[in-house]
């Protein structure tokens, strides 16, 4: 039960662990850990929330002088163009997630279950985009897309996000498949199950947690892209991070803070629902 919820290998069956001597952690250490982590992660977020609701907050006051929902009203007003950016971000991230998973699934299956000479080379090729800055290849892709009219389009932006998401999704799903014994599929088949049934009732349930984690990673990677979107989308495809940076550099702190939450919420929602899903599937 103690496996972190975002754990690509969470779908591995738990082993019974026999221990010689067990040190039971007290409730106190759990409480201390919770307080410490909450302090570190929640304090900046709570402050950000306060900042978004502060009309004026002059030095050296520890609390705002005037509270106001002005920034929030502005963020959701048509002039801010935040909602279209939100829609663009969501569309791009969902297309990227779908593509990444579809591309990664068959590859991961082969990498996990089959031995062949070029396997190491394939894994190495998948690791390269993870281990080198994406800027150079994005610049090349920009030149390529210019030729095919894919720059300044949502499809072009989504394709450029695949460079990072496909390797992560493939490597994570490889982990999931490698913990599923291929013989289960063979047994189901020998008992007369059709391919679709084998997938539906054997393979899919076994890799579902890993699939959820891989999909959420793909979503989050796409969600947080700034530079790739800027280069390929040419400021014509405006996603939330582009809007956020514009406001962060524009200087209205309250609006930037409110916008940060609009940007943060879907990412947190995805992470949270995956955590929930993993909990139910354990």
């Amino acid at each position: 039960m103690g496996v972190p919820a975002i754990d690509p290998r969470a779908d591995r069956p738990r082993k019974t662990v026999y221990t010689v001597k067990k040190q039971t952690p007290t409730k106190v250490s759990e409480a201390l850990a919770i307080i410490a982590i909450t302090g570190l992660t929640a304090t900046p977020l709570a402050l950000l929330a306060a900042r978004s609701l502060a009309q004026s907050w002059y030095w050296p006051s520890l609390t705002p002088q005037v509270w106001s929902v002005r920034a929030w009203k502005y963020v959701f007003s048509p002039t801010a163009e935040v909602l279209p950016a939100l829609a663009t971000s969501l569309s791009v991230a969902m297309v990227v997630t779908l593509f990444a998973v579809i591309v990664a699934l068959p590859a991961a299956r082969v990498l996990a279950w089959e031995e062949f000479r070029a396997k190491r080379a394939v894994i190495f090729a998948l690791l390269l985009p993870v281990l080198t800055p994406p800027l150079a290849s994005t610049m090349g892709v920009h030149a390529l897309f210019l030729r095919y009219g894919l720059t300044d389009t949502m499809m072009g932006v989504a394709l450029s996000h695949l460079t990072l998401t496909v390797p992560y999704a493939t490597l994570m799903l490889t982990g999931s498949f490698s913990r599923l014994d291929p013989d289960y599929e063979a047994q189901a088949r020998s008992l007369g199950a059709k391919t679709i049934d084998v997938w539906r009732s054997v393979t899919f349930p076994a890799i579902a947690p890993g699939l959820a984690v891989a999909a959420s990673f793909a979503f989050l990677i796409s969600w947080s892209q700034y530079l790739t979107t800027l280069l390929i989308g040419g400021a014509r495809v405006v996603t939330l991070p582009l809007t956020l940076v514009a406001f962060q550099r524009g200087g209205d702190e309250a609006i930037a803070a409110a916008l940060s939450f609009v940007y943060l919420a879907p990412a947190a929602a995805v992470a949270f629902s995956v955590a929930r899903f993993l909990k139910e599937n354990r």
């Binding site: 919820a5 082969v110 281990l131 800055p133 150079a136 090349g140 989050l220 943060l264």
Partner: protein, 293 residues
């Protein structure tokens, strides 16, 4: 039959390899070609190293490269130390407590831009820390507070990455620890190993693969990262990606091949450092396959 198997295998790998081959390798090759004198928009059409040579004559590039190396290394080392310490310290608690696990994941889902924005409200000269210092009588005005954003040491950048990456390394390490269970440590205990011996010779080698591979990913990520240094850094010297982006989007297209050369160089430097790091860790701790698959 054998052929069928092979064909099937490569068909299943094909989509993923196509993405890597076209969008990554193809993109990189095209970028390299553009930086080597084949840049159509300005009519360049002959092999030349002049864009790389002029990078070598550019003092801004040396300053950027040095800053990038320094900040990426500092953030990675601190994150790896803090993350693995966090994982080892929270091991028992994390095994039982769901809230602790859930909390550790919050930083993972907070995008870097939002994290940087949140951090500004804490560490800016008029941020919460400075106000707290004033309330306690340590400083009189915002200017007395040490500069932590847009500062010459890149403290805000490093801090922002630590907040994101230390929990990441901790989660990777905790996942590995949970998978391994504690049989090895119990065996060592039964055989009479002291607490220090168990840590040094059992636990540490066990978590090393997770720490090594996750810190390598962190380093490579920070080395090429853009958003955080763009928001929290100085205009000069800026980190490599910021300089490359600014030159790439310059209205003067003649600057662009130089910007691409810079990005290619940055990719090569990262690849070389990753290779050296893997060689080093293999030599030091005998790690054959750092990537847990």
């Amino acid at each position: 039959m054998l052929l069928n198997f092979t064909v099937r295998r490569w068909l299943m790998l094909a989509p993923a390899l196509a993405v890597i081959g076209v969008l990554f390798a193809g993109g990189l090759a095209l970028a390299a070609a553009q930086s080597l004198g084949y840049f159509a928009p300005t009519g360049e059409n002959a092999l030349t190293l002049r864009h790389y040579v002029s990078l070598g004559d550019d003092s801004e590039i040396y300053a950027s490269l040095w800053l990038t190396l320094k900040l990426a290394a500092a953030a990675t080392v601190i994150s790896a130390a803090a993350g693995s310490a966090l994982a080892l310290g929270l091991r028992e608690v994390a095994r039982r407590s769901r809230p602790v696990n859930l909390l550790l994941q919050i930083p993972l889902s907070v995008p870097h831009l939002a994290m940087a924005g949140a951090l500004i409200t804490v560490i800016a000269p008029s941020g919460l820390l400075a106000r707290g210092a004033y309330a306690l009588g340590f400083i009189q005005q915002p200017a007395d507070f040490p500069a932590l954003i847009n500062d010459r040491y890149g403290a805000g950048i490093v801090l922002s990455y630590i907040l994101k990456e230390a929990p990441f390394i901790a989660l990777m390490t905790l996942a590995l620890l949970a998978r391994l269970g504690d049989e090895y440590e119990q065996a060592a205990r039964v055989l009479g190993a002291s607490a220090w011996q168990r840590f040094r010779h059992v636990t540490l080698p066990l978590v090393a693969p997770a720490v090594v591979s996750s810190s390598l990913m962190v380093f490579a990520f920070i080395f090429g990262a853009f958003e955080v240094p763009f928001i929290l850094g100085r205009p000069f010297p800026a980190m490599l990606s910021v300089v490359a982006q600014q030159r790439y989007l310059d209205v003067n297209l003649a600057v662009r091949p130089g910007a691409i050369a810079l990005a290619v160089m940055s990719a090569l430097v990262t690849a070389a450092l990753a290779w050296a790091y893997l060689r080093l860790t293999r030599a030091l701790i005998g790690l054959e396959r750092p990537f847990i698959l």
